[in-house]
């Protein structure tokens, strides 16, 4: 072998060996876990109480759009909550593949009207979304919410895995959870639940509706349902809670299915206090706030008042 060839060949082999070693060294890592960073965002969209307005209003009207407007006007009108140029996310309950009559999802008329009002108040974007239980396309379709919200000018988003943020919820029980970004990246959050029966939490109204912002293995939250609802309420502070009690699902909740389980109550509640809203809403199901575990725990955790009369209550019948 010639010397030059010898040098060349060994040079090549050595370079290759060095490169192999370098790649190994570069990727060497004793820590086998690949931690996902979590974001410490906040979700406080509440507004402060104002003694000129009641803290909770309830309007009854068989015209559901009128009921919403009456309740909203009595609590200060949309302009109190939405300022021009703000981004608004509306969170109805769109959990199930059911029609509006079956009362498992929020009344689409109310969602549409709320979108319209926000737009009128000058909101730059109005987003309507929810993480559903059933196939989201069917839920958004059959609940009628996509159609009515889009007609009123909202952007309606089906939940998408790529739109989840990993958030530190800083709760007693809930720490890192995937949250749909629209519930974080916004200026105002309007919670629009429907009043329904639930076998474990007795009822699902506003605070329980917040389950819908979470992805991941949220079925496991049932194992400590009261604390997880309270953790969510402590983290997500909606600007306004609008409770749909136009139709109330008395039994077989939260999915329902039979019209026999539905009570027509024609009422809409508006409140700046999520605990008071649920407490008043529970009365449609012959319950009171004092009888519902998560409502009690929310009050003792300082999130609001069960006694809604104490924050100023107005009924428009």
């Amino acid at each position: 072998m010639k010397r030059r060839e010898f040098l060349k060949k060994s040079g090549q082999a050595l370079t290759f060996a060095a490169a192999t070693g370098a790649v190994g060294a570069f990727f060497h890592n004793r820590d086998p876990f690949n931690y996902q960073p979590h974001l410490s965002e906040t979700a406080e969209f509440g507004i402060s109480a104002d003694s000129t307005y009641p803290g909770l209003t309830l309007a009854k009207d068989s015209n559901h759009i009128a009921a919403l407007n009456k309740a909203l006007d009595a609590i200060g009108g949309i302009k109190r909550f939405i300022k021009p140029g703000e981004r608004v996310t509306i969170k109805p309950n769109i959990g199930w593949d059911r029609t509006p009559e079956q009362a498992a999802d929020t009344n689409p008329l109310l969602v549409g009207e709320m979108v319209r009002l926000c737009k009128e108040a000058g909101a730059s974007r109005v987003i309507v979304t929810d993480i559903t239980c059933h196939d989201p396309r069917r839920c958004f379709l059959r609940s009628g919410i996509r159609e009515s919200a889009e007609k009123a000018g909202a952007e309606v988003f089906l939940p998408d895995d790529n739109d989840m943020l990993n958030i530190d919820l800083r709760g007693k029980l809930l720490t890192n959870w995937p949250v749909l970004k629209y519930f974080i990246e916004t200026d105002r959050l309007i919670n629009m639940p429907i009043v329904k029966h639930h076998s474990l939490s007795a009822c699902t109204i506003g605070m329980k509706n917040l389950y819908g912002v979470l992805g991941g293995r949220r079925h496991q939250l049932h194992q400590s349902i009261d604390q997880s609802i309270v953790d969510l309420t402590a983290f997500f502070k909606p600007t306004l809670t609008v409770v749909d009690a136009t139709r109330v699902l008395l039994r077989n909740g939260p999915t329902g299915g039979s019209l026999d389980d539905v009570l027509i109550a024609d009422s809409v509640i508006c409140s700046i206090d999520p605990v008071a809203a649920d407490s008043r809403g529970a009365e449609f199901m012959s319950l009171t706030g004092e009888k519902v575990g998560h409502i009690i725990l929310a009050e003792t955790s300082g999130l609001g008042k069960i006694d809604y009369r104490s924050i100023g209550y107005k009924e428009i019948l």
């Binding site: 029609t99 196939d135 396309r137 069917r138 379709l141 159609e147 076998s199 049932h222 194992q223």
Partner: protein
């Protein structure tokens, strides 16, 4: 029209039919129209299974197996009757699997250029081409006995199944994987480009929910084998295996259209053999075989001396180099009888060993509206339309859950997806009536009508959180869609690990109301093996597979026209 134009027409026809077929499979999917006329019932906007209904072998097979021609299958006459007059035009001009084989066979390679001689030889009629007829007779005899196996190798269901359960899901997984990988590099413009490409193909090729299918390796292997064999023998599948090709070959027995050869004009250049698709001996000096010819017209197109031409009532100059031939199919009567006997024997082989209870797995949950198991096996062609259309990815091809006999027929795996109460899509797309079309009322029932049941839920008390571990849960009850709920709860005081008493609600199943939809099994938070699961007992389609003593009217009775 010159022969070149006709060949171009043939090429265009192949492209068009292939695209239509592929497009229909893409559309065999639930996509939302947000302004429905009737929001209560979701229907597909057009008959996506129409391509399968033109399949003569499916029509004949189901006719033999169960005595009727279901819904759109009469369309198959549109293929069959012209075949009687002009031969296997379907294979050369229409069949999407044939077209795919054609394209793959034609991709040029070094090997092909070097071995022109071998190519010419491999394009001569070969004895292996008889196999397809024996396959056909085996399947037809089996069908006559009541077990329908044609779908395993019938090209249209085969291709529909392969694209729907293998090709498209693999594309989806790859697209997700590649996009994710490119994004993970972390160069913003690159990520944006990847996302742009993804968004470009997504609306066309990807489903809303990424589909995963059970046992696709077996389906995929057959498909890949068919594709790859083209590289060894051109259109090996069409020549040697395809039972539909064989059937059309039989039907072209009395064709009045065919190849006319002029011996005097031939200069023996062998161009015709080099380009022949069907291996039917177009060259001068051998007997042309109508039953093998795909009517691709390549031979006439490439012949430099116009010695070959297709025409009605072709005349045959009989001479030494153009021997008086017969167009008869080259199969021996003895082997036909043997095939028929073998096919007929499949039925007792499949069915005599086990009775229903032992044969079918208790986890064999059939789609809602399915006919009873014996009828099902006489109808399902394993086209996979139901699996592709199911919005919840609930339906999967079986492997051995319904025995070897039912391989690749649909199975509902609730852990992956439950049956949506308001959905009737699988019955809408089934081309053979294995799954009957239900109305929404038939499916969910009302005060007079019982719902359609696909099974019953059972609780595994050793795994259920409130039963075994003193923890609250009841997700199954929350998800149960029936009204009243088929899962009821009882409050019970139990001891936890610290010896304290806690009150939990323990679930029970009410079999009167349970429809077996599997929503509970799907949602149960015990992630690996759910603490509540469905088995097939109680399914509406069976009068035997029941456990409750019921009133006569509690089990809906179906016949082929729907409910009695």
């Amino acid at each position: 029209m010159t022969i070149a134009t006709v060949r171009n027409l043939r090429r265009a026809s192949q492209v068009i039919f292939f695209v239509i077929f592929f497009w229909l499979i893409l559309k065999t999917n639930f996509s939302v129209n947000f302004n429905p006329a009737d929001p209560n019932e979701i229907r597909l906007p057009y008959p996506v299974s129409i391509a399968l209904e033109f399949d003569p072998l499916t029509a004949l097979g189901t006719l033999l197996a169960n005595g009727t021609i279901y819904k759109g299958l009469l369309w198959s006459l549109v293929i069959l009757i012209p075949t009687i007059f002009i031969g296997r035009f379907f294979c050369g001009w229409v069949c999407p699997l044939g077209t795919l084989n054609h394209w793959i066979s034609e991709i040029p390679s070094e090997r092909m250029k070097r071995k022109g001689k071998q190519k010419i030889d491999s394009n001569r009629y070969k004895k292996y081409q008889r196999i397809k007829y024996y396959i056909l007779f085996i399947f037809l005899a089996a069908a006559l006995m009541g077990t329908l196996q044609v779908g395993l190798l019938d090209p249209l269901p085969l291709l529909a199944r392969s694209i729907g359960t293998v090709v498209l899901p693999v594309i989806h997984t790859s697209a997700d994987g590649i996009t994710g990988w490119v994004k993970s590099i972390g160069i913003p413009p690159l990520s944006a480009a990847a996302q742009f490409l993804y968004d470009l193909i997504a609306p066309l090729l990807l489903t809303f929910r990424k589909m995963h299918f059970h046992t696709i390796l077996t389906i995929g292997s057959l498909f890949i084998a068919i594709i790859v064999l083209n590289r060894i023998f051109s259109r090996f599948w069409c020549r040697g295996i395809c039972p539909l090709g064989a059937m059309l070959g039989v039907f072209s027995r009395f064709a009045i259209f065919g190849l006319e050869k002029k011996e005097s004009a031939c200069n023996h250049c062998n161009e015709c053999l080099l380009h022949c698709q069907g291996a039917d001996n177009p060259d001068i000096g051998s007997v042309w075989r109508q039953s093998e010819c795909h009517l691709c017209l390549n031979c006439q197109g490439v012949c430099p001396t116009q010695a070959l031409s297709f025409r009605f009532f072709p005349s045959q100059e009989v001479s030494k180099s153009n021997p008086a031939g017969t167009a008869k199919i080259d199969i021996s009567r003895r082997k036909v009888v043997a095939s028929l006997a073998g096919g007929a024997a499949l039925y007792p082989l499949f069915r005599s060993g086990d009775t229903f209870a032992a044969n079918a797995s208790p986890y064999l949950i059939r789609p809602p509206g399915s006919v009873s198991e014996n009828d099902f096996l006489a109808r399902c062609i394993r086209c996979g339309q139901c699996m592709r259309v199911c919005p919840n990815n609930a339906l999967h091809p079986t492997f051995m859950e319904s025995g070897l006999e039912g391989i690749w027929s649909p199975l509902l795996i609730a852990r992956i997806g439950y049956c949506e109460p308001s959905c009737t899509l699988c019955g809408q797309v089934c081309p053979t009536g294995a799954i009957l079309e239900l109305t929404l009322k038939d499916k969910v029932g009302d005060k007079e009508t019982p719902p359609n049941r696909i099974g019953t839920a059972f609780i595994d008390r050793g795994r259920c959180l409130p039963w075994a571990m003193a923890r609250p849960c009841i997700v199954c009850e929350e998800w149960c869609p029936t009204s009243p709920k088929s899962i009821y709860l009882r409050e019970e005081t139990v001891y936890n690990s610290r010896g304290e008493t806690v009150t939990v609600k323990q679930p029970y199943v009410d079999p009167e109301h349970c429809t077996g939809c599997g929503a509970c099994e799907y949602a149960c938070p015990v992630e690996d093996k759910a603490a509540i699961y469905i088995t097939s007992v109680g399914e509406s389609r069976s009068s035997e597979n029941q456990m409750l003593l019921k009133k006569k009217n509690d089990i809906p009775q179906y016949n082929l026209r729907g409910k009695i």
